[in-house]
C-alpha cells in the first residue's frame, strides 16, 4: 500500500543526489500530487546536475568573504516585548472575535462604503470625525494646562465647524493652524497614571485599562458637548455613530487580525500598541503632534 510513497521517497533521494543511501523508516513524505512520473524524470536528469560527492569529509569553509567571525550570543533579548497582560486568555478570545467581526461585518461594510462613496465624500466624512475629535484635544489640552495648544485647537474647531461646514472640510490646516492630538488616556498618562493591564476591546482592538477609560470619557464628552445641536445635527445619532465606526475601521484598514501570518502577531501587536501610545505621550510632551 505504501508503494507510491516509497517510490516518491526514493525519487526524492535520487533527486538530491544520493541514490546509494538507505532511507529511514520514520520519514513521512505525503504525496499530494500525481506527478511521480515527473519526479522520476527529474531525478534521472539530476544525476547529471547534482554531481555531489556525498560521504566525503568537506573542510568547512567560511561562507562569508571577510574574516570576522560572528560569535553566537545566546543572551535572551525578548524581554522588551513583554507587556503586562493578566487577562491574556480573555484578550486572545476577543482578538479572535474581532477577526470574525471584521470578516463578516466591518470590512464588508468598509468595502461597500469605499465602493459607493466618492473619494471626496470619504474625505469629508473622515474630516468630520477628525473635527469632532478636536473637542477632546481641546478639553485635554486644557486639562494638561497646554494653553497654546488649546487655543489653536479651539480656533481650528471654530473655523472648520463653520466655514468648513460642520468639519467636512479642513480649512484650518490650509490656514496653517497645525492639527494636534490629545485624548483623556494621554492626560491620565501625563499625570502619572500607568497603562494598567493590556486590553483587547471588541470592535476597537488593542488598548489598555487607562486608554479604555480615556476612550469612554472621550465618547461621553463629545456626546455631551453635542456641538451641532443648534443646527439640528445630533452627533450621538445612530447613523452618525455607524458612520463613525465604518470610518474608523477604514482608516486602519491596513491592519487585519491574523493578517501578518506570524504566529507571534498577538505579541507584536500588543508590544507595538504599547510602544505607540508611549511614543504619543513623549511626542506630545516634546512638541505637540504636528500633522
Amino acid at each position: 500500500m505504501n508503494y507510491k510513497k516509497i517510490m516518491i521517497l526514493s525519487s526524492l533521494l535520487l533527486l538530491v543526489g544520493c541514490s546509494s543511501i538507505e532511507k529511514k523508516e520514520d520519514i513521512k513524505l505525503v504525496e499530494t500530487h500525481n506527478n511521480s512520473k515527473m519526479i522520476e524524470e527529474v531525478a534521472v536528469k539530476n544525476k547529471e546536475y547534482l554531481k555531489l560527492d556525498l560521504g566525503k569529509e568537506i573542510v568547512p569553509q567560511p561562507v562569508i568573504g571577510d574574516n570576522e567571525v560572528v560569535r553566537k550570543k545566546e543572551i535572551n533579548g525578548t524581554k522588551f516585548i513583554e507587556v503586562y497582560d493578566p487577562l491574556e486568555p480573555l484578550n486572545r478570545r476577543i482578538y479572535y472575535f474581532n477577526y470574525y467581526l471584521d470578516k463578516f461585518v466591518l470590512i464588508p461594510a468598509v468595502n461597500v462604503y469605499e465602493f459607493i462613496a466618492p473619494t471626496v465624500v470619504q474625505k469629508g466624512v473622515s474630516n468630520f470625525f477628525s473635527n469632532l475629535q478636536e473637542i477632546n484635544t481641546f478639553v485635554n489640552s486644557l486639562l494638561q494646562l497646554e494653553g497654546r495648544k488649546a487655543t489653536i485647537t479651539l480656533a481650528r474647531f471654530g473655523i472648520n465647524s463653520t466655514i468648513g461646514i460642520l468639519g467636512l472640510f479642513d480649512v484650518a490646516t490650509k490656514l496653517e493652524l497645525p492639527k494636534t492630538y490629545e485624548d483623556f488616556g494621554l492626560t491620565l498618562a501625563k499625570y502619572g497614571i500607568g497603562n494598567g493591564p493590556y486590553l483587547v476591546l471588541p470592535g476597537f482592538g488593542p488598548s489598555n485599562l487607562r486608554d479604555t477609560t480615556g476612550k469612554a470619557v472621550g465618547m461621553v464628552t463629545i456626546a455631551e458637548v453635542d456641538p451641532y445641536n443648534p443646527v439640528d445635527v445630533n452627533v450621538d445619532d445612530w447613523g452618525i455613530r455607524t458612520a463613525n465606526v465604518i470610518n474608523a475601521r477604514k482608516e486602519t484598514k491596513k491592519f487585519r487580525y491574523y493578517g501578518t501570518g506570524s504566529p507571534f502577531e498577538y505579541e507584536y501587536v500588543r508590544y507595538f500598541y504599547t510602544k505607540y501610545r508611549d511614543t504619543l505621550i513623549d511626542v506630545n510632551d516634546v512638541n505637540g503632534r504636528g500633522e
Binding site: 533521494l13 533527486l15 538530491v16 543526489g17 544520493c18 543511501i21 529511514k24 520514520d26 520519514i27 513524505l29 505525503v30 504525496e31 499530494t32 506527478n35 515527473m38 519526479i39 524524470e41 527529474v42 536528469k45 546536475y49 547534482l50 555531489l52 569529509e57 568537506i58 561562507v63 562569508i64 560572528v70 550570543k73 545566546e74 543572551i75 535572551n76 533579548g77 525578548t78 524581554k79 522588551f80 516585548i81 513583554e82 491574556e88 479572535y96 488593542p206 482608516e251 486602519t252 491596513k254 491592519f255 491574523y258 501578518t260 501570518g261 506570524s262 504566529p263 507571534f264 502577531e265 505579541e267 507584536y268 507595538f272 510602544k275 511614543t279 504619543l280 511626542v283 512638541n287 503632534r289
Partner: protein
C-alpha cells in the same frame, strides 16, 4: 600601448554606461530600504482588480490549532478581460502573495496586459504549512517541486472558476523568488505543464546560505548581543516619532521599511534594520518548522488555540536563518539522507549552481541584478556573468531589489517579456 588604450576605452565606456543609469539611490542600503517597495514608474494604478483564492490540500487538514488562520494555501489573481498572457510572480524570501512588493509587480503586469497570479514564498508559514512536502524548506529542487505542483493547482482553479483564457505563460520572481524561477523553469523543461515562454529573474540569490548569512550578519554584527535588539527598536522609534500614525501598528517587513522612508540613517543602523526585518521572517520559520515537525528544538510544548505565545517567542530568542539551518534543516536532511551528509553538502542543494548547465543553455531565461547587491558574493556575480552571458545585466546601483520598480528597470523587464528582446546594455 594598445592595452593601455583598451583600458581607457573600457573605462570611458563604463563611465558613460554608468552615467546613463540615473537611479537616484547610490547607497545600497538606502536603495534596499526605500526603493524596494516604492513604485518609481509612471502610470501604474494604485489598485488593480484582484480576487483572492484559497486551495485546501492534503496537508491543510493537519494545520495545528494555534495556526488555524493559515488553513488553505492563499494566492490572488488579477484577471484581464478575454484572452491574455499569464504571468506568475514568485515572491521574495518569506513574503506572502499579498506583500507590498509582490503586489507592486502585480500592478505593473496587470497594467501591461497580463493576467497575474501571485505566489507566496516557500519560506512563508502559509506555504510551509499547506504545501511543503518536506515541511523543512531550503533544498532548491524539492522546494521547486512543491512550487511546481501548487502552481498547477492554482492554474486549474482559476481556469475552472473564472474561465481564464490565456495564451502563453510567463514567469518572474524577485530575490529568492528569482532563484526559484530558475528552478521552476528547469523543472518545467521536464514536466512541460506550463511551457513558460519567458522567464525573468530579478536580483536572485545564487547561494541561499550565503545570502541568508549576509542578512543574518547584518543584525548580528551590528549589535553587541540579542538583548540589544530592544534598544535598536527604541532608537528606530525615536527616529520616527513625528511620523507615526495608527496604521503603523501593522507589523510587516515593508511597514518597518516604510517607517524609515523619510529619514537619513547611518549605514550601520540601516544594516541593522535590514537584518532585523529578515530576522522576523527567520523567527517565524524557525518556530513553524519546529512545531509542525515536532522536533521541539525550541520548546517542548505545543500551544493550543488561545495559548500565550510569548514563552515560545522567548525560547526562539531571535533565532536567525543560520540557526534554522543548523538546528532544524540539517538534522532533518541528515536523517533522511543518512549519516554521511555533511552540512556543506546540504548547503549545496541550496545553490543555483546545481542547475548551472541547464541555465547556461536555456535561452528563455534572463537575469538582472545589481553590482552592489550585498546578497551576492563576487563569485556569485561571476557565476551570473559566465552562465547567463548576454542574457544577464548587472546594474551599477540598486542594492538588493531597490531598483526593481524604477522606470528603466521596469521598461527593460516588459520589453523582454513582451517582445523577447533583451538589451543587456544600460
Amino acid at each position: 600601448m594598445r592595452r593601455y588604450l583598451n583600458f581607457i576605452f573600457i573605462f570611458l565606456l563604463s563611465v558613460s554606461l554608468y552615467a546613463e543609469y540615473d537611479f537616484p539611490m547610490k547607497n545600497p542600503y538606502v536603495a534596499t530600504i526605500i526603493g524596494s517597495s516604492k513604485i518609481m514608474t509612471e502610470g501604474i494604478p494604485e489598485n488593480v482588480p484582484t480576487k483572492e483564492y484559497k486551495i485546501e490540500l492534503e496537508r491543510s487538514k493537519k494545520i495545528p490549532e494555534n495556526l488555524w488562520y493559515e488553513k488553505g494555501f492563499k494566492f490572488s489573481l488579477s484577471k484581464q478581460k478575454g484572452n491574455a498572457p499569464l504571468i506568475y510572480i514568485l515572491s521574495g524570501t518569506g513574503s506572502a502573495y499579498n506583500s507590498v512588493r509582490t503586489k507592486n509587480f502585480q500592478r505593473i503586469f496587470y497594467k501591461a496586459g497580463y493576467h497575474v497570479l501571485t505566489v507566496t514564498s516557500v519560506f512563508n508559514s502559509n506555504f510551509v504549512l499547506n504545501v511543503s512536502n518536506s515541511q523543512v524548506p531550503g533544498v532548491l529542487i524539492q522546494d521547486g517541486l512543491d512550487l511546481y505542483n501548487v502552481m498547477k493547482d492554482m492554474l486549474d482553479k482559476v481556469k475552472k472558476e473564472d474561465r481564464l483564457q490565456i495564451d502563453n505563460i510567463y514567469l518572474m520572481g524577485y530575490s529568492m523568488g528569482a532563484t526559484h524561477s530558475a528552478v521552476l523553469s528547469y523543472l518545467d523543461s521536464v514536466g512541460k505543464d506550463f511551457n513558460f515562454k519567458r522567464v525573468y529573474m530579478v536580483n536572485p540569490s545564487i547561494n541561499l546560505y550565503y545570502s541568508a548569512k549576509v542578512l543574518d550578519d547584518m543584525l548580528d554584527k551590528n549589535i553587541e548581543n540579542k538583548a540589544e535588539i530592544g534598544k535598536v527598536v527604541n532608537e528606530v522609534i525615536d527616529e520616527v516619532k513625528k511620523n507615526i500614525s495608527p496604521t503603523d501598528l501593522e507589523i510587516t517587513e515593508e511597514s518597518i521599511y516604510s517607517i524609515f522612508e523619510k529619514h537619513e540613517l547611518s549605514d550601520k543602523k540601516m544594516k541593522t534594520l535590514i537584518g532585523l526585518a529578515f530576522n522576523l521572517t527567520s523567527i517565524d520559520l524557525n518556530y513553524i518548522v519546529d512545531q509542525i515537525n515536532g522536533t521541539h528544538v525550541y520548546s517542548k510544548k505545543t500551544p493550543g488555540k488561545f495559548t500565550s505565545m510569548y514563552p515560545y517567542f522567548e525560547a526562539i530568542n531571535f533565532a536567525d536563518f543560520s540557526d534554522y539551518l543548523e538546528k532544524l534543516a540539517y538534522p532533518y536532511y541528515l536523517k533522511i539522507l543518512g549519516g554521511d551528509l555533511t552540512f556543506n553538502d546540504m548547503i549545496k542543494y541550496g545553490n543555483l549552481r546545481i542547475i548551472g548547465d541547464y541555465l547556461k543553455n536555456e535561452k528563455k531565461i534572463v537575469v538582472v541584478t545589481n553590482e552592489d547587491d550585498f546578497i551576492l558574493s563576487t563569485k556569485d556575480k561571476k557565476f551570473i556573468k559566465e552562465t547567463f552571458k548576454e542574457r544577464s545585466l548587472i546594474y551599477p546601483y540598486g542594492g538588493h531589489c531597490g531598483n526593481m520598480f524604477y522606470q528603466t528597470n521596469v521598461d527593460k523587464m516588459l520589453e523582454y517579456l513582451n517582445k523577447g528582446v533583451f538589451n543587456n546594455e544600460l
